[in-house]
Symmetry: C3
Subunit: 345 residues, 3 copies
């Protein structure tokens, strides 16, 4: 597979702003690793030095760039990272192809509803009784689909993922390897000196176009549903508690925990290692910076940081002040001494 | 399955304080989602507005509630959440039934000690040589039981969980999907410019009634035992290091890490995203608030917060002060100026 | 298996400094649990009280120890923990033996390149088409090796681990249970109100002697490679983002996250629950203390702490100051009052 300059400009909607094409393009590489047959891109100013020295054959650039060192051909596009993604998709189209069929080592219970000619079920997959699998869905080796689970169309369930009983996935849902949907919520009542398990009889619903990261865990509701809204993308090693409701098109990044019964609006961004306590609401378009700890409801359209969470600019000011605090303390002692000396004069 | 009002009061030990029963109850729902056939409950004051507007058929209420809007029948109980759990258990009894038998796709080594008519081993489970499985235990699809591991009675091992060689589980232990028991402890000696692996030849012991959350990991001891005490409940994505000893009836919540050789007493509560360094002791009934970092031994019967951990009320005071620190700094500069002006007069 | 005193001194290069041998040694135990047939060691001063009271038969001690209570025989060695490791290795040699062969329930695609007489593939393992497995490698039950993955010699892949397509492992790599190599990087472009997935077509490379902890996840590169350098040891529940490059002989401890495109030099130590933002560089021999948050490049040969990361001694000073801040605030109010009274006199 090789793309010509013309194919790249057509694919990306870009236009040549400098340089000439010397060949076709087969590879994809970062600026500092690319060679003459590679397409690369400038997506982040941090890499501008690499840009000035790159040996790439073709570089996708944003409109603000005005320097074009000799060598590559430069194609100006609106969003270089996105445009590069289109090239990646084209060049790697054959890497993952959907091949329908059920591997002989897979176990699919007799009453599972699916079309064996339109799904792909790999080796040692288990699909328990009563489950439903939509057309175009692929389930990779070692994944387990529990009783009466429902999986929509064109989903991709990676190896060793687990979907427990009765949970429901929409269409085009992706579950990375080792992810777990429908584990029991963490609920106990303290009776007679011991923590008695509270049955967790609800389910998890992943709406259309949700992605769940590797080894991420989403607990089933105590009763009712834990819901991940349409288009929400969850990174690796995230913990979502029982009865949590996350809105549409949110981002939830690695090692974050959302405790039971909390809810997020739409377009909320939760950076890495954030903790959100239980029974809270985070409103639409709120952004939580990494390592924030949330202990109260938060209004939308704002950026938060710190533990406990505060508007990010307040937190930033306190952090700057904290760095100067040891100096303040010694200045204070000096001033106090001075005042006391003045007094005793 | 349907319960009458009389069955609910009998089951929960409650008494009707307002309203009348119009039908039987089949469903379970939160106050804001319940309809006429559902049982609901008021377990948290945060939901009092939902309570006043609920369409539930039957509501379990605590004794302090004095308003009973028309519609539902109200049953007063000592602990509404616990009482609701009893109703849940009754109504969902058939959801998970134990069906003994060994699935033909499972591999159980010849010398495994178990009664195939009294355990349930699902599809593609692997039980290696020398393992022992107690009666009433269920092992779900894809789980792996290592050589010479011992599992007690009435345990429930969910899909894709791993119990490594020689580890021991008591009775009624629950392992959620993807959890790992007996991974190697993180131990290396730095010799000749490289980290040389220190063999980890101990085991993990989970005592009776322990629960281990999804994708949680508990490392085997370097030698001897890593121990999780009776009745302790561990949430999802928790890391327990080698040779850790956790006492009885503790709670350890999501994304927490306990480093090697530390020990917790009994009835310790560790909230989410806490970190406990190695070789420390946390005494009985200590409570660590979320995101606390522990670098020293902690006395029992106290609440801790912060990084490093301090008594929670001290930490709270410092956090409040930190928020006012930028103002203090500008006030200090004003005062200093005033003192200097006074002096120079 | 039993070792004599002479065998222990020969094995460890130690010399007897006190006591007499009464028997051979079969067991391994901590000082406070050891009995007459056990070897134990004093590796950490915290356990000196246990040392003075131990019932061990043989104790490995460092040269600085000068008290030798009656009972055990004492063997002085340079590094007691390391020496103990040698004894452990000797006494437990038979615990894990490599038995080549492919279990009949495993599925190995026809075109996989391996020598069935020199690898050990356990029950229900899946090895997909095009993969390569080196001699001496063991793959435990339920692990999945994706298409065209390459695994070197003498590797140990534990149960339910997943290596996705095209990823490459060097020699002597260890993957603990449930670990995931090659999950998709977390990359989206926000287009038309939704997060569009950016294809992740790169791979993960684990160089020689890398160890990956239980349920740790390492994402494949967007394009090119995510690299873990030779001899680097990663603990449990760590998240490594796409295109991250970690140098040689680093330590990365539990619950840490390294975001996309960041790089670590050689001999970097990252303690538990650290977060490193994307596109940063941490230079050689930097040490990050537990729970540090990194938002800028960091120079090497230094210890960092705090969020955001600062030189540890500065952070320590600020933390000490923070604890005294409430008092400073009340002292400030007193001083201010005094100054104002002085003025108004």
């Amino acid at each position: 597979m090789e793309l010509s300059l013309e194919e790249v400009t057509k694919l990306t909607g870009g236009r040549v702003v400098a340089g000439e094409s010397k060949n076709g393009y087969r590879g994809l590489a970062a600026l500092n690793e690319a060679t003459a047959n590679d397409v690369s891109f400038l997506g982040n100013e941090k890499y501008y030095d690499d840009y000035l020295r790159t040996n790439a054959g073709l570089v996708l650039v944003p409109s603000k760039v005005k320097e074009f060192p000799e060598g590559p051909v430069y194609v100006e596009v609106e969003n270089p990272s996105y445009a590069f993604g289109l090239v990646v998709k084209k060049l790697s189209a054959k890497m993952r192809s959907f091949k329908p069929g059920v591997h002989p080592t897979a176990y699919v219970a007799e009453d599972v509803r699916y079309n064996p000619e339109k799904v792909s079920i790999k080796a040692n997959v288990v699909v328990e009784s009563g489950a439903v699998i939509g057309d175009g869905t692929e389930i990779q080796a070692g994944a387990v689909i529990g009783e009466y689970a429902k999986i929509g169309k064109d989903c991709l369930i990676y190896s060793n993922a687990t979907i427990r009983e009765y949970c429901e996935l929409g269409d085009r849902v992706i579950m990375q390897p080792g992810s777990v949907i429908g584990s029991d919520g963490y609920g106990y009542e303290f009776v007679d000196g011991a923590h008695q398990k509270v049955d967790q009889v609800g389910i998890v619903v992943l709406e259309n176009d949700v992605e769940v990261g590797a080894n991420t865990t989403i607990d089933r509701a105590r009763f009712g549903k834990t819901v991940i809204g349409e288009g929400t993308k969850i990174d690796n090693l995230v913990q979502i508690g029982h009865n949590v409701v996350i809105g549409k098109h949110c981002l939830v990044i690695a090692l974050t925990g959302v405790a039971g019964s909390s809810s997020l609006g739409n377009y909320v961004t939760v950076a890495a290692q954030v903790g959100i306590a239980g029974h809270l609401h985070i409103a639409d378009k709120a952004t939580l910076m990494a390592r924030t700890g949330v202990m109260k409801d938060l209004e939308g359209d704002q950026i938060y940081w710190g533990n406990p969470a505060r508007p990010a600019k307040d937190q930033l000011r306190s952090i700057a002040a904290l760095a100067r605090l040891p100096k303040l303390m010694s200045d204070f002692r000096s001033l106090k001494k001075k005042v006391e000396e003045t007094e005793s004069e």
